[in-house]
């Protein structure tokens, strides 16, 4: 009598342990790496060193090893796709960095402070220099698998102190009249100088009665010798409406008022509905004309010929 009970308990306990072990394994493999801050701006006098630190945090449920290193930072295209490769003939900013550690292990809930020092060479030309400090998980490789490493970065905007050309312009401000949701406006800002500058953008969308429907205030960095396309979508654009778009763009002590643009928004569904209504109106008109013509023909056919009227050969 006891044996089956014991077996039942053993089986159920074993099952529970198996489940826990399985869950544990699944959770133990996840790696959650967090970094703070995400950007830092430093003005450095050539020939001097600046120190700082960032935090690496394990918000997950498993311990892991991470490594720390720096890469160059630049952007590709007007959409500003980040790129971390070394460009030929570019200053080797990465060599300016020294970290307090090359890598460490971190436990769940733990925060590690990583110190860095940036030593700028004496003969550095004044201007902007850019790099990223990465913290990257190092997961051990296992059989028949694709190992997934994760890295998060802190972007460094470094200014070599000294006289530098600061120059930029608003190239285009585009808001097509006929749009489907979301209502989108696009501007392109160029930095033709030697250092990045922040651009403050304010965009306002009003309905035909002057009621504000959407406002955006944002600051975007423009990197030197690049053009940045900034797209401002109004995510909650209604399916139909006439809207007025206004705004301002400010950078390098200049404030530009954007020309007012009117936009007619029509979703594909509304367009289809209007198309069907137009088609229906045309069909009703054609049908009406056809009925009129048929009625005329009938009248003609039913009118009796006058006896004196000569026969048509």
């Amino acid at each position: 009598m006891i044996k089956p009970r014991l077996i039942k308990i053993a089986v159920s306990t074993g099952g529970l342990f198996t489940l826990l072990a399985f869950s544990g394994t699944a959770l133990a493999t996840a790696q959650d790496i967090t970094m703070s801050p995400t950007t830092v701006s430093q003005v450095i006098q050539p020939g001097t060193t600046v120190d700082g630190n960032f935090l690496v945090i394990d918000q997950g449920k498993s311990a892991y090893n991470f490594q720390v290193y720096a890469t160059p930072y630049h952007v590709i295209g007007e959409d500003y796709t980040p790129d971390f490769t070394i460009l030929p003939n570019a200053p080797k900013v990465v060599s300016w960095f020294k970290f307090s550690t090359a890598g460490e292990s971190i436990s769940p809930g733990q925060t590690k402070s990583v110190g860095y020092s940036i030593t700028m060479p004496k003969n550095t030309t004044p201007g902007g220099y850019y790099a990223v400090a990465f913290a990257e998980t190092k997961f051990p490789q296992s059989g028949n698998s694709i190992t997934l490493n994760e890295r998060v970065g802190e972007v460094f905007y470094i200014e070599a102190a000294g006289p530098v050309v600061k120059k930029g312009q608003l190239l285009t401000w585009s808001v097509p009249f006929f749009q489907k949701p979301p209502l989108t406006s696009t501007m392109r800002v160029e930095d033709s100088g030697g250092i990045n500058f922040p651009t403050t953008i304010n965009v306002k969308v009003e309905d035909a009665f002057g009621q504000a429907k959407y406002t955006l205030a944002t600051v975007k960095q423009i990197l030197p010798q690049t053009i940045r396309r900034i797209i401002v979508p109004w995510a909650l654009t209604p399916s139909l409406g006439l809207f007025k778009v206004t705004g301002t763009v400010s950078f390098l002590s200049t404030r530009t008022t954007l020309p007012t643009r009117w936009v007619l928004v029509m979703s594909p569904t509304v367009q289809l509905a209007f198309g069907l209504i137009a088609l229906l109106i045309i069909l009703i008109f054609v049908f009406g004309e056809w009925r009129k013509m048929r009625a005329k023909r009938q009248i003609k056919q039913e009118t009796p010929r006058h006896p004196d009227q000569p026969k048509v050969p």
């Binding site: 790696q31 970094m35 997950g60 796709t81 971390f84 190992t147």
Partner: protein, 201 residues
Amino acid sequence: MLKSFRVVTGALVALVFIFGSAAVASAATANTTISSQINAVISLLSTNGTVNVNVTPTSGGVQTIASDTATVSTNDVDGYTLQLGENTGASTMVSGSNTIPASAGSVVSPVAMAVDTWGFRVDGLAGSGFGAGPTSPQSSAAISALKFAAVPASGSPVTLADTSAVATNATTTVYYGVAADTSQPSGTYTNVVTYTATTNP
């Protein structure tokens, strides 16, 4: 008369003193500004540290598809960019001297997986040729018509997500596939890829 004058003057001086003090007291109040800087953070989590794509091949070839979900959170108001690339220069899966080459497809022009290749896909990735999917994980099943691409080199990673606002647990699911027939030597094949998350300028 002089006494009355003194009393009145004293009273006035007392009044001025009292109200003056009150006025001074009220002028001495000050506002205290409470400031707090919330530092920007960015975090990246993948479902698994590894994706197992084991295959039991057949002569005609079969395919295993497994998924991984990259989750990004940031309080940076400019949003984030998530990219995927090879960890090293090698795009092949390696087992000793044997390899499984990467898919011949690219992100823009992915292809249905050929036998003895591996690759990745992301359903509905903007600017890609992957298509909407949906992709379902499978194990050693018939090779699907879904299109896969080689994981790009570390120097030219593919952008999986690009946002312009604060993000909380924003997920991107990446599917990895391996197709093999019996001509592929048995072994433990591995490759390392890297997800990169940075905040936007």
